[in-house]
């Protein structure tokens, strides 16, 4: 690594650390946008393992996000104790599971879901896989919506609220933290937490891609039959890809639930799955910097647009409000970027057959 590179990385690190303080000047809402963008980056990195590395198009990825979010919501909100006397008896102070327990559980449970959902789809290829995973995503959402009776588990469309904010060593991320006379706001602490998570995920994901497993995934992506002939256990590796990708989704879900303090089925629609897929594909399938770029662009830009949309809304007599404009731009971005750069904005420099041509 030469000196220029070190300076470059150092500059990026400083920029990332300073960014929330800079955004804070304009108000907490802007830091929140950065937080959400980082969460999307986390999701996109997770989905990239499934779609980018192993070549399995998953249109129901948000289901794992939902699993993680609901898991944390159930383990750290008054809902279970209020609904079931058993829990109230077991935890008289209410259920407040610490983050150190929730993150592994969320990763594990979501991973298990990933394998469960992956198992029936092993034989399917391409578009069929896409539509089945899409179906799974919808099934999970319908269940979240309807599991409020006969036994109230998810509280139906009303969702779960009063979820504990994360806390580290007694420091709650929910309220501002005073540090030698300097106040660090809650959203800013979440920013740093998410930043650390994203960095860890990038390292894990990068190491995975370089490993034996990662190479096997890419071999499956390029040509499944040839991969099989080379002695790769395609079944186990595909399941592993689903599992690992899903556990990333689960962890992001748990973080999301604590960040929002509230979860409802509304947050886990097909549109979200499509957004995450769009981030991965627009950025550059299987290429981490591209995926991060795609996620940042799609997550942050529309949020920023929200603030410039007000005059536009005025101009068009209320027909073009912020959310519609956002959808319009995302849709246009998906089409235009794919038409101009079918391999994404920042694709892998490596050659790859299935990524290049169709025939």
């Amino acid at each position: 690594m030469n000196a220029r590179k070190i300076v470059f990385y150092f500059a990026i690190a400083v920029a990332l650390i300073v960014l929330p303080m800079f955004l804070q000047v304009f108000g907490n809402a802007w830091v929140r946008i950065a937080d959400t963008a980082l969460l999307y980056v986390l999701l996109a990195i997770g989905l990239n393992i499934v779609v980018g590395y192993a070549g399995l198009l998953d249109l129901g990825y948000v289901a794992f996000f939902a699993v993680g979010a609901y898991l944390y919501a159930l383990l750290a909100s008054p809902h279970l104790s209020e609904t079931f006397p058993v829990f109230a008896a077991m935890f008289p102070n209410g259920l407040h599971t610490p983050i150190w327990m929730v993150i592994p559980i969320a990763a594990g449970v979501a991973g298990l879901f990933g394998i469960l959902l992956g198992a029936p789809t092993l034989k399917l290829r391409g578009d069929y896989l896409a539509i089945v995973t899409l179906g799974f995503g919808e099934i999970v959402r319908v269940f979240l919506n309807n599991l409020d009776h006969p036994v109230n588990i998810t509280n139906g469309p009303k969702g779960l609220s009063q979820i504990d904010p994360l806390s580290f060593f007694g420091v709650s991320l929910g309220k501002p933290f005073s540090f030698g006379g300097y106040q660090i706001s809650s959203v800013m602490m979440y920013y740093y937490l998410f930043l650390v998570c994203v960095l860890v995920s990038i390292v894990i994901s990068h190491r995975l891609a370089e490993s034996r497993v990662g190479r096997a995934w890419m071999a499956i992506r390029e040509d499944e039959i040839a991969a099989k002939a080379m002695g790769i256990n395609t079944r186990n590796l595909k399941l592993l890809a689903f599992g690992v990708g899903a556990s990333f989704g689960g962890v992001s879900g748990a973080l999301f639930a604590s960040f929002q303090g509230f979860v409802s089925p509304e947050s886990f629609t097909l549109m979200e799955s499509i957004m995450i897929v769009a981030m991965v594909v627009l950025g550059g399938l299987g290429h981490l910097p591209g995926v991060v770029l795609g996620a940042l662009l799609l997550a942050a830009l529309p949020e920023v647009l929200r603030y410039v949309a007000a005059p536009l809304q005025h101009l068009t007599g209320g027909r073009l409000d912020a959310s519609i404009l956002r959808q319009l731009l995302i849709a246009l971005a998906m089409i235009v970027v794919m038409l101009l750069r079918p391999r994404g904005l920042w694709p892998t420099p490596e050659h790859g057959k299935s990524l290049q041509t169709n025939t």
Partner: protein, 309 residues
Amino acid sequence: MDIFLQQIINGLVLGSVYALVALGYTMVYGIIQLINFAHGEVLMFGALTAWTVAGILQPAYPGMPDWIVLIIAAIVACTVAAALNFGIEKIAYRPLRNAPRLAPLITAIGMSLLLQTVAMIMWKPNPKAFPSLLPITPFEIGGAVISPTDLLILCLTAVLLVALMWLVNYTSLGRAMRATAENPRVAGLMGVKPDVVISATFVIGAVLAAIAGIMLAMKYGTVQHSMGFLPGLKAFTAAVFGGIGNLAGAVVGGILLGLIEALGSGYIGVLTGGVLGSHYSEIFAFIVLIVILTLRPSGLLGERVADRA
């Protein structure tokens, strides 16, 4: 028994709408191996156009019989939908014919989103009441009732299916379509213009979708920008169910799916003792899809094709 018969009728009606939409998916998939995600939105545009036309005609010519309004609205809607699908293919799919496999799928999803948004801007997001253009007194058959709209749906679907089968099997365009599906390059060498055939396929699919959209609008009495999504998804399921790329399969799959949904939502409450209600009916289609693809990945009538590496 009356309920059973009623659910069968409902299922058949719903199933024939699915079948019409599924044909559009299956024809496109058969020729260019692409899931046209925007197909459901073409259906929605058809229905909303018909709503607009009916809304203009009825006050302008109060004396005009309703069935003439319906026919004019349908013709306009089919034209708009056909032009729309033609344009979608030209803009979003044709340039990506040789791109990575995921690229056209992403533009298709983008198109679907774009059309929904545009429809939301053009027609506002609120649901609109679709005028009842047919008499509403239902006929009674052995204890069950069938409305004139339902009857029209059944008959029209049958007619359209026969027409489509004739088109595909006995005309030169149909032969060109089948040849292109088999192998576009060789078909090109034999004097078929694959691009023309593909455009024609999209146009035919759009007309069927627009008619299905109007049927749905008349059946449920409302139109909205999001009305195309679920029927589109279910119709795709139906196409896969029957074996994608196979026209007869799409029809069989559509009707079976309609029956499963109708009977399922009619009886799920009774069967599970009220634990699961009919709001789970939305996911029947997906469960059917998953089961079918696990047991018989090429669908009911699909041939087993070897993996092409």
